[in-house]
Symmetry: C2
Subunit: 509 residues, 2 copies
């Protein structure tokens, strides 16, 4: 027996069938209980199976089929496995036991408190991208790294490993700016305004944004209601060469493929990790070829970062990992006590952005102010403005209409600008008492928007009619839930009925 | 809208179809991409869907079907979902968004370092048993509790919660003995001998054993090659009333249903936790109605418990949780430096047990000695023997043939005794150097047995021909791998070829 190919003797062959079963990214193979390969290999339900066809191999989870809808001699693949294997209908494939995934030992070590080495982290990320981790393995890795369980050294390793497995862009310009919000604040959609102002000032800002992880909308989700965002790298490059900036979805240009896989399970678990957050953000910045990055870190009791102390700790980790990966980073701690703008959800947030850029009278002032502050920081970190003069320069760019013209040009270059849709089903929440609105719960607002269908349903979400500090009257609408299906509207309204979103206190005269 | 039934308006109906897809315990529902329910509810691949039919509800993960093999108006169920729902072919079912599983917030809290309260633990275990946790949720819970992350208070809560969701047995006798090995030592199959000796001495020992978690065989797996072990509670009770003892699979009498679900994912992850270990063991003892328990804790560098210090810590946790749940526990720390007996794998271990009980000349001495020591401890904790006299009493019971006759009677009462099968495919590992066999790697031996198919293939495993301290010659067989399929034999032998199992050192004269 050739020790290099131990499974040759044991391999069985079957013909591949596309079953059209969408399991999202989990790779699943369907085989008959009485199939010769299952019998000779001893495969049973949930066995991990290595499938080889046409020079490619994938590792899939077995679902055993009883009954005759799958023919003898055939093996079915989920859509995800079909795509990753690049399979053809009826193609012959061989099935064997996978070698143990060695990097899983390192994950178990981490669970038991042992630090992950640079080499282990590289192996883990490589195996994740190769589809060798089952969903439960991904869940264990994410959980073991959650909170602050990754050291800064491990976070640096993870960042580098995530860069290494994806593409890395280079630009004709030596100075490439970027901005990033660490999230946790519904409606904080400043990116389109900042990119427009930076590009209008001659900077190179090839912005790749993510879709929502645990929030009702990511920048890519909101931007997609205004223009196409799933551009190829070549298309993205053309937009940036023409206009200086772009706002596209990072996943479609394959900048950090590991991140897209981890994000899916993080979303299912609703678990974020400090180290994975930093690695996710900075790996994309390095991969995107950025050199100077402004970070927006909203701080507030119901934001992702809940205290100044936590913000300082996170900022220090960002700075340390940035130094190790050759980035210049500037952190802006911003107000995270309530949502920004009025809309929560892709299309509703895009409407707020348009209002700011078009300088409409009803444009949300808070979104405008934050966008200008961050744009000012970008102008300063890039030395377009002197320290302390960035905000004024950014404001001039917006008020002159240059920012709006630049944004429209970018949308045009990305494939054409469109107006965000309005959801067909809407229902208000009416105030049942009068008084001072003293607090809003960001997390519950985000949950309502998600229950209403955001971000998958782009026009779904929450439209706020009041802000903290407002005085409200009985019968006044506080918010309106928008949904694309009646089921989701009912479900979100049920949650609204059972949970306090706003704190309204009696006003003393 | 009725706040108690918020989803009524949004519910859609489809007819249930049994697709015959075995996903093990993960609950999966298959719905057409163009089905009205998916559209109105906004379900997509991996959505969690609540299915109600005939007064029962289950929570399943959605796989979206493209193509026509699933008819309009139909929804398919995996075997697991079909069983849990008790569905009928063509039965009408309603589909809705599940309420958020509140206990998952507590799991997330635990991930972020917050202790789990008694109430939270109860909710978590209840939701797990109700099938409300997806596999990734189970993986996160297990990972968050791994190592020593559960406090003794949390372990007590978990133990009580696991008892509460299953059946709890009572026996006509006030003194009910039990023994348990914490595992980690291949071939350590003393239970059948201990039960036979205890029952022959008039004790009540209704033993429920588990199947393998991460090992090549559990006691239930080995016992199953000698007699039926999946007895109903009524059948188990009849055996114990007739013979005083039994050795059955705990899962089939529903003593700790949460444990069976957790074990499946622990096995996939190959992650054990101290707190979950103690809760798993003691919850089953309490549920089984035991009052006095002897624990076998093997200690050795490649056993589950690696040092005296770790054993002392684990013993202290066992004692604390036992006190809180009304059990008397005695811990026996035993030699865990090498496998016990000669066989590793269900049938091979059963053969060793038979040789001891039948007092065959070639019976493994180490298995005999350990069994007698533990049986002696059982006789002492139950006050059948005075302290220090248990071992002698146990030895008399074995040597008189009483133990063997009692064991045969128990097997007969459980449904009939049988001889364990011999695997059709076998291959030896031959010594390539001579010298003193100074060490054996338990973990690698266990892995070889598992790669060969154990415990799923009952006759698969490893037969050892040497022990630590033996002198070996070139050409001498060290072990034989047994397998039920050629694929598994090849795979196990490949691992044998690539990894050192034994340390053989040159002997100095």
């Amino acid at each position: 027996m050739n020790p290099e190919h131990p499974c040759t003797a044991a391999e069985g062959h079957l013909k591949l069938r596309r079953l059209g079963i969408d399991t999202h990214q989990e790779l699943v193979v369907y085989m008959r209980a009485d199939c010769a390969v299952c019998r000779s290999e001893g495969f049973t339900a949930q066995s991990r199976v290595q499938i080889a066809a046409g020079g490619r191999t994938v590792l899939a989870t077995l679902n055993v089929v009883h009954g005759d809808w799958l023919s003898h001699g055939d093996a079915g693949l989920s859509e995800s496995a079909w795509r990753l294997l690049g399979a053809q209908e009826g193609q012959h494939a061989s099935f064997s036991h996978p070698r143990p995934v060695d990097s899983l030992s390192a994950v178990r070590g981490k669970v038991f408190g042992h630090a992950l080495s640079d080499e282990s982290m590289t192996e883990i990320v490589r195996d994740i991208v190769a589809g060798r981790y089952a969903d439960v393995d991904l869940a264990a890795f994410i959980t073991a790294c959650a909170d602050d369980h990754l050291s800064s050294a491990e976070t640096i390793s993870l960042t580098r490993a995530m860069v290494a497995v994806g593409r890395r862009l280079s630009w004709p310009r030596t100075l490439v700016v970027d901005k990033h919000c660490v999230g946790g604040l519904p409606g904080n959609r400043t990116t389109p305004v900042v990119v427009a102002i930076a590009a209008a000032n001659g900077l190179c800002m090839p912005k790749t944004s993510s879709r929502a992880i645990t929030s009702p909308a990511g920048t890519a989700d909101a931007m997609e209601t205004l223009a196409p965002v799933d551009l190829s790298l070549e298309q993205m490059r053309a937009v940036v060469e023409k206009e200086g900036g772009c706002i596209v979805w990072g996943g479609s240009v394959d900048l950090s493929p590991a991140d897209e896989i981890l994000i899916r399970v993080e979303r299912a678990l609703d678990i974020d990790s400090e180290g994975q957050l930093v690695a996710s953000v900075l790996s994309k910045k390095v991969a995107a070829g950025s050199t100077h990055v402004v970070l927006d870190i909203p701080v507030g009791p119901t934001a992702k970062v809940r205290s100044e102390q936590a913000a300082a700790k996170l900022t220090a980790l960002f700075q340390e990992v940035a130094r190790a990966t050759g980035l210049a980073v500037r952190a802006e701690l911003t107000d995270g006590t309530q949502p920004v703008g009025r809309g929560i959800g892709p299309a509703l947030e895009a409407r707020d952005v348009l209002a700011v850029l078009r300088q409409e009278a009803n444009a949300p002032k808070d979104l405008r102010d934050r966008s200008l502050r961050l744009a000012g920081a970008v102008l300063e970190i890039a030395a377009v403005s002197r320290d302390g003069e960035g905000l004024a320069a950014a404001t001039r760019t917006l008020e002159s209409g240059e920012a709006w013209r630049k944004f429209a040009a970018i949308c045009q270059a990305q494939g054409g600008m469109r107006e965000p849709a309005l959801a067909p089903h809407r229902q208000p929440l009416i105030a049942r008492r009068k008084g001072l609105l003293s607090a809003a719960d960001n997390r519950r607002l985000a949950r309502i928007a998600k229950l209403a269908g955001a971000p998958r349903a782009p026009s779904a979400g929450v439209q706020l009619h009041v802000r903290v500090g407002d005085t409200v009257d009985i019968g006044q609408p506080l918010l309106t839930v928008h949904a694309e299906s009646t089921g989701e509207l009912a479900y979100a309204m049920d949650y609204v009925g059972r949970n306090n979103v706003f704190t309204i206190v009696e006003e003393r005269v």
